[in-house]
Amino acid sequence: MACSSGSCQSGCYKDNNDAEVEEENRQYQKREAANRHSLCIKCKSNETIAATNPTAASLAGGGDGSRFCAECFRSNLFGKFKFAVTSNAMISPSDNVLVAFSGGTCSRVALQFVHEMQCKAQKNFDASRDRSLPVFGVGVAFINESAIYPVSSQQLDDAIEDMKLVVSNLTPPTKVFHVIPTASIYSSDLGEGNVRLKELVNGVSDATGKEDLMLHLRMLSLQKIALENGYTKLLLGSCTSRIACHVITATVKGQGYSLAADIQYVDARWGVPVVLPLRDCLTHELKMLCRLDSLNTVEVFDTPHSGINGLVSSFVKVLQLLCFRKENASRECTIVRTAGKLTPFDFNRMPESDDLNCHLASQRRRKKYNLQSNESLPPESFCRICNSPLNKSDSLSLNDVENGQLNAEAFGPKCCLSCQFQILPKEPSSVEHFYSLLPQPIITLAKDDGCNWRSLREQIQDCLLSDSEDGT
C-alpha cells in the first residue's frame, strides 16, 4: 500500500497501489526531464531541435539535436568553420577561392558557409569608408566523372541544372560555376581524352586502386580549373568523418608516412593550396544543417565505396555508432585527433604571400595559430601518381634516378609503394602502356623532377669527385 505510515506527506490517494504511484512518478519525472532537456543548453531559451524538428534531429542520432536549438546549432557549426578559416589564414581578402562542389552534403555546406563569409565581407566593404579590404572572390567547380561512373545523361543534366540553380541563388556576389569533365586533364581534345581516361582507369585491376586513382585525377582536374582561372585557393568540403576514414585507409594501405600530409587544414603541396575548413565538422552535423536550412543536395556519382575503402568506411561508421550510443562521444573525432598529433610537413602551412595586394590591414586581421615552423625538412620527392611525400627509406637511391630516363621504367620506382601495388600494372610491358595513357600533368611532374635534379647536379659538378652519388 502507498501510505502505510501516518507520516507520509506525499498526498497520494490511499487507495492507490504502489505500482500505480510509481508509474505516475516515473511518468512525471520523464516529463520533467523532457521539459528540462527540450531547452537549448546554450541559449537556455529556445526549444531544442529534437523538439522543433524531430526528423532533422534524428539525423544527428540524438546528440546535438537534443542539446541545441537550431540557431545555436547553426552558429556553433559555422563557428567551427570560421575558426578553421581564420586560425589557419585560409582565406585572405585578396584571394580567389574555388569551392569543389560535388552536390553532396559536405560540399553543399562548405559552399553555403563560404558564401555567408563572402556576404559579410561584402557588407563590410560596402560600409567601410576607405574600402581598404577587398572582398575575396568565390568560384564553384563540379567535376563530371560520368566517363568512369556512368549515369544517364538526363540524370546528369538534371543534377547540373540543380547545381547551377544552387550556385546562382547564392548571390550577391555572383559566383562562376565551372563544370569540367575529368578528361579535360588531357590537353588533347575531349573525345580522345575520354578514350585515354577510360583505358587508363579501367586498366587498373584493383577496385581500391581504381577508386584512388579517380580521386587523384579529380584533384588534378580541380587544380587545372583553379590554375587556368586564376584561383588562389582550392576549398574542399572534407569533414571529420571523411578524414577519419582516410586515416584508417591510409594506415591499412601502408601510407603511414604520408598520412600527416593529407589531414591538415592546409595542404600547399599543390599548385593552388588546398584548404579543409570543415575538418572539425561531423557528417551528421552537416546533414542536420542541410535538413534544417533546406539546403538542396544532389548526389550524382554516389557510388558506394568498394574494396578497402568500403570496408573501412563501414568499420568507422559502426565504431562511431557504438561509441556514440555508449559514451555520447565521437570515435571519428578521436581518430582524427590521433592522426593530428603526427608531425605535419612543411607544406602544411599556408605559404607566406609576397603579394603586394595583401594589405597591411588584412595582415593585421589574420590570426595565425598552429603556424609555427617545425624542424622537419621538406621531403625530397612525391609519388608521381598520388603526390604523397615519399619516405626516403622507401624511395630508390638517387643513383637509380640519376640518368633521368623519363620512361615507363623510371616512372614505376617514383611512385609510392601503395600506388605501385594497387594502381601500377604488375608486368613491365603493361607499365609502359599505363605510362603512355597518363595525363600530361603527371608526366610533367615526373620530368620536372628529373630536370631539377640534373640542373642541381650540374651546378655542383665541379666539386664532385666521382660520378656516383655515394662518392665512392
Binding site: 608516412y257 603526427l342 617545425n374
Partner: protein
C-alpha cells in the same frame, strides 16, 4: 584450425600444377601472406627463413645469450619454441633457450595448457620454468574472479602476467624474453591505438624490441609472421599445442578490430604488413612524452608511479577493495590519471591482451 586454405591434393592432380617456388612438388597450400600455391616443404622453408631473416636483420640476439621463450601452450608460443630451437641449431645462434610459463591459476584452462608446455619441454629439450600467481601474489585467477567477477578480471591478469614474466625471467637469469606476438596482433594494436588516440603507444607498439630500459628486454620474432601461417605451420608439423580460449575471456580474438583485420586480410592479404609498415613510418615527434620510469616503493619493480600497477591491484585485493586501481577510484598513488587510463584497456602489447576494445 583453418583448413579452408589447404588445397585438396585431388584438384591439383587434375590441374597438374606444381609448387610455384620449387616447381617440383605438388602444392599443398595457398600461402596466406602471398596467396602463392606452394608445397609443404617450401612452406616450411619460407616460413622459417623469414623468421631467421627478421632475427638476423634486427640483430635480436647475440651468441651466448640466455633467452626465455614466453610459453603459454598456445599455437603462437608453441610454434615459436619449435622454430627458435630449430633455427638456433641450424644457424648456430649459440643461444641458451628456456621455456617460461606463467600459471595464472585458472582451472580447466591453464592447468591443461601447462601440461602441453610440459610435453613441449621434453619434445624440444628446453628447460621449463613455471611461475605462478599464487606463489608471487598469493592469489590465483580463480580466486580473483570469485571476488571481482568477469568484468575487469583481464586487467588483473594482464598486469600480473607482465610482472610475472619479468620475475620468472630474472629467476632464469636470462638476457632477453621472446614472445609469440604475431603480425596480426601488432596490426591490431596499431589500429586500437589510433582508435583510442594513444599517440605514445602508437609510436612504440611496432618496435620489435621493447623494454630495453627495463630489467629484461622483450622481442617479437613473429612480428611479420601471419597468424594464419602459424596455425598452418603447427597443423602441418603436427605440433602439440593447446587451443582453447581462456575461460574467463570467452570473446578474446573476437574483438572488433580483430574482425576488421580478418576482413581486410581476406580482401588484401598484404594489408596486415601494410598496417605494420604504417605504424613504423608514422611521423611522431620524438618529444612525445614518455612517463618517467622509477621503481615501485613496495616491490622494487619498474613503475612510473609510487607503487607499480600490480601492487595497487594487489593491495586492493588484500584490503577487500578489489575495485581499487580500476576505474577512477583513489589509491596510494596521488597522480593516478595516467595509470587509470592504462587499466581501462590500453594495456601494452607486452601483456597480450584478451577481450575487446573498450567502447
Amino acid at each position: 584450425m583453418d583448413e579452408a586454405e589447404v588445397v585438396k591434393p585431388k584438384k591439383n592432380a587434375v590441374g597438374g600444377r606444381l609448387c610455384c617456388l620449387c616447381n617440383q612438388r605438388r602444392p599443398a597450400l595457398k600461402r596466406p601472406k602471398t596467396l602463392e600455391q606452394i608445397c609443404r616443404e617450401c612452406f616450411y622453408t619460407v616460413f622459417e627463413e623469414e623468421i631467421h631473416r627478421v632475427i638476423v636483420d634486427n640483430q635480436l640476439f647475440k651468441p651466448g645469450e640466455r633467452i626465455a621463450i614466453g610459453a603459454s601452450g598456445g599455437k603462437d608460443s608453441t610454434v615459436l619454441a619449435y622454430v627458435m630451437s630449430e633455427l638456433n641449431r641450424r644457424h648456430n645462434y649459440g643461444l641458451d633457450l628456456f621455456l617460461l610459463s606463467v600459471d595464472e591459476g585458472i582451472t580447466g584452462y591453464r592447468d591443461d595448457s601447462l601440461e602441453t608446455v610440459k610435453r613441449n619441454e621434453i619434445q624440444y629439450g628446453l628447460p621449463l620454468k613455471v611461475v605462478s600467481y599464487k606463489d608471487l601474489y598469493g592469489w590465483t585467477m580463480d580466486e580473483i574472479v570469485k571476488i571481482i567477477g568477469l568484468k575487469n578480471n583481464c586487467t588483473f591478469c594482464g598486469v600480473f602476467r607482465r610482472q610475472a614474466l619479468d620475475r620468472g625471467a630474472a629467476l632464469l637469469k636470462v638476457d632477453k624474453l621472446v614472445t609469440g606476438h604475431n603480425a596480426d596482433d601488432i596490426a591490431e594494436t596499431v589500429l586500437l591505438n589510433i582508435l583510442r588516440g594513444d599517440i605514445a603507444r602508437l609510436s612504440r607498439c611496432t618496435s620489435i624490441t621493447t623494454g630495453e630500459e627495463g630489467p629484461i628486454p622483450r622481442c617479437k620474432p613473429f612480428k611479420y609472421t601471419y597468424e594464419k601461417e602459424i596455425v598452418m605451420y603447427a597443423y602441418f608439423k603436427r605440433l602439440d599445442y593447446f587451443s582453447t580460449e581462456c575461460i574467463y575471456s570467452p570473446n578474446a580474438y573476437r574483438g572488433f578490430a580483430r574482425e576488421f583485420i580478418k576482413d581486410l586480410e581476406r580482401l588484401r592479404p598484404r594489408a596486415i604488413l601494410d598496417i605494420i609498415k604504417s605504424g613504423e613510418d608514422f611521423r611522431i615527434s620524438t618529444s612525445t612524452k614518455m612517463p618517467e620510469q622509477g621503481t615501485c616503493e613496495r616491490c622494487g619493480y619498474i613503475s612510473s608511479q609510487k607503487w607499480c600497477k600490480a601492487c595497487v591491484l594487489l593491495d586492493g585485493l588484500n584490503r577487500g577493495l578489489p575495485k581499487l586501481g580500476i576505474g577512477r577510484s583513489r589509491g596510494p598513488n596521488s597522480d593516478r590519471q595516467r595509470d587509470m587510463k592504462q587499466s581501462n584497456g590500453t594495456r601494452d602489447i607486452q601483456s597480450k591482451q584478451c577481450g575487446t576494445l573498450d567502447f
